[in-house]
Symmetry: C3
Subunit: 346 residues, 3 copies
């Protein structure tokens, strides 16, 4: 094949040390399971060694520790997962959008759009909004008045940014996400809820990525902030005045209630729910499905999940959850009686 | 009334056997509770017999087993729920959208749109996208480059399809759903996350329906697949490389993490959360709110739900959840002491 | 400073009694923690007294009970939280949208739009839809045929309303919310699901607010109804035929399954999940994360949450959740043996 990359070329892009035929050309990337002889794949640890040996992949990206344990042509790299991510990018370069503003886009007065930015069909750019160099705003996005977007951002179709949000460089926003909607601020007055105007904003720092249909509310008075390099998956709720630390990764369906501060380098599993006004330290891991009801001051992994069972077993067991306190009382009572008996016993 | 259907006409459309006045004309459909004498309703089992007898409905769709237990004019059918679904359709035919492309829609070069398809206002159709016969793309939808959509599909307003997704025939997508956004693929490199390009796609087979604001991510290398006839409700997350089997129904707010495979004919209750890389067998039912943390190999119903209580009771009981292991140790200790005592006892 | 308000002016707007310098002008509002001498803040209870004393705020809104316990200039009001909400509005008046229809909007025949309504760029208004006086429909909204929207409503960008929904006055809908999509109605027929047409509608009464990306499904036969003054946060699912009572507030990520009726003045915490066909009484509070599996007939607070733990502790404890019934049996057995022993014991 004339297209693709040889191991020598991959080494030039990814670094590392090539072993085996370095001139053969590979046409694509694939998983160990699905790769054919024309494709490259990767392995990270000896957990994948059996799959790697069974794989039909033409070449592999491997860590030094496993380089002698496979026989395929290979590129030894320090971080095979990262190197493979780069290899995917080589084989599947992101299509470049032509600079310029689609004629159907609606651009308000005073909007400031870099000449090499791309504005898609039917996108709406509000007054005084600023779109930085090489940023790409896809079809149907609505960018509110006064929003600032840095350089090299990508807003996929149908993203909504409310007025005044401030977006850094290289930020990626997926379709349907809503940044800057009003926080859920209500004051009870006599016999009804009074809306508390939400006049803070949202700041997304550099290299943040936000998934599809995720919502990040604007702050009540101060700002909601997602620090640099944090990554959020789909359908996540970030309430007003939350702060998420740098390089924290949050899986889908998580909810974070108002004013909670999550540290840097945390990992939050899917569907975890975190109540408001908490502090989560740096480097905390929260397991999927865990409900976090109080602050976490120490790094570590935290969990609260009910194991599932066959429904009949669950019915039998769950009934006792309503009576744990009573069970505990009975246990104490037994201990007391028994220690009496023991005392009396010969 | 001159409009509507007689029992004889309903029988012609729905099959079955009519009992009672077959020439009277009924103007609409309603629930047993709200129907009046001009409307038809239905019952499925003797659970609804009292309600059916009390109902003012002019006629009923009934199963044979109950036909003699009510007195209203009735149509005896094999499957009253399905027959009633069809009757609703007779009384409320879906408005037909005029074929053609709204003048405000934005159609990229090379898009291939069937002459009898409907493209709504401000819809955006990407390069090389294909829209099949009689499919309807409502206002504000954004269809990425290279997407293929089969025949007789309905995309409600403001749906987003990323590049390259492949949609079968008779697929229904509700507003705000996002198909084909990047999976949550990250590789850790030194001190930050590196994005792993997501180059798989999404395949929605024939007769799939996807609810409002549901997200289905594209695969990392291979495709995310939802098989024929599967039905997904609103606000569901389907992560990259998930496969959902044919005719599986999933209620709202469910999350399914990456690479999990769910079998055919499953029923997943609302807000269930399923972690990644699992296998769920065919014909598995998962109760609402259940957290699925390991594979399920056998058909059956599975549950993991904490019963709710008055808050004070919960506080008293929940405290012990942190000490179950200790309670268990104490129980073991008691058993040991007691067996000693019994041995010694005369 | 020449702009802003004096205590005397604030008193004219908010009521109450001013103490201290009433002629000094304050330029803005802020939290106790972040306010400077030019800004006003507020306190509600003695819980905030220390923070209020330490605050640099130039003036405070206070309840009478605390008026003598701080030294700053202050406005004594009956409800400081509500008064402060109004003060925020004074300092941050909502920008007024110019009446009229953006030239890029698509207005169907027979739509009836009040002359002082605002229709944003690329909005789509369906046939026979009615938009009331001073209502504002932002960019990218799609309003289905026959929808009615009252006066003084605000639909933020990219809201979708399906055909026939009925929206009262002063309703606020945030971006990405979808009102009136089909309920999840399916009838099993032989070997596949048959769609049950959803021909009810959605009614949102006056003063309802719905958060970003929340979904409210249309009723199957009858309507889904959210009563006046109810407030819903982001990413909530309201299934078909649910009724939510007046002035009930629901935090983010809640799911409410079909036909459940929630009373008035309820408060539902984030990520609570409520199954279908239940009745929840008025003035019920449901804690965040609680799974509600049966009806609640009495006012009060209800909870079902698993406390989280360090992962190792959780593993040790959670194992016993599968064996609670067995633990209970062992406990009963011990009690029996022990009462035997006691009887025999001298």
């Amino acid at each position: 094949m004339s297209s693709g990359y040889t191991l020598a070329e991959l080494k030039a892009h990814l670094g590392g040390e090539a072993l085996g035929d370095t001139s053969r050309r590979y046409s694509g990337v694939a998983s160990l399971e699905h790769a054919d002889e024309h494709q490259i794949s990767f392995l990270v640890s000896d957990k994948h060694l059996a799959a790697a040996r069974a794989s039909k992949a033409g070449a592999l990206l491997v860590p030094a520790a496993l380089a002698e344990r496979i026989s395929q042509p290979r590129l030894i790299v320090a971080n095979p997962h990262a190197a493979f991510a780069r290899a995917i990018g080589l084989y599947h370069p992101e299509p470049v959008a032509a600079p310029g503003i689609h004629p159907s886009a609606s651009i308000a007065e005073g909007a400031d759009i870099a000449v090499d930015a791309h504005i898609g069909a039917h996108a709406v750019i509000g007054e005084r909004a600023r779109i930085g160099p090489q940023s790409r705003i896809d079809a149907g996005c609505v960018i509110g008045p006064g929003v600032t977007i840095g350089a090299n951002c990508r807003l996929h179709a149908n993203v909504t940014l409310y007025a005044g949000c401030r977006i850094g460089d290289r930020v990626i926003l997926h379709s349907g996400c809503v940044i800057g909607a009003d926080g859920f601020g209500l004051a009870w007055e006599d016999d009804h809820w009074l809306k508390v105007p939400q006049v803070g904003s949202v700041v997304l720092e550099d290299d943040v990525e936000i998934g599809a249909n995720t919502t990040v509310d604007r702050g009540a008075l101060d700002d909601t902030v997602i620090e640099r390099g944090a990554k959020l998956d789909n359908l996540i709720q970030v309430a007003h005045n939350v702060r998420i630390g740098a390089h924290t990764a949050i899986a889908a369906c998580v909810g974070i209630a108002g004013s909670t501060r999550i540290g840097a380098y945390c990992q939050i599993g899917g569907a975890a729910m975190i109540i408001g006004h908490l502090e989560i330290a740096d480097r905390v891991t929260i397991s999927a499905g865990t409900f976090v009801g109080k602050s976490i001051r120490e790094p570590g992994t935290y969990t609260s999940v009910q194991p599932f069972m066959a429904h009949a077993d669950w019915k039998r067991n769950a009934a006792h959850l309503r009576h744990l306190d009573h069970m505990h009382e009975r246990l104490k009572q037994l201990e007391k009686i028994l220690s009496e008996l023991e005392r009396k016993s010969p």
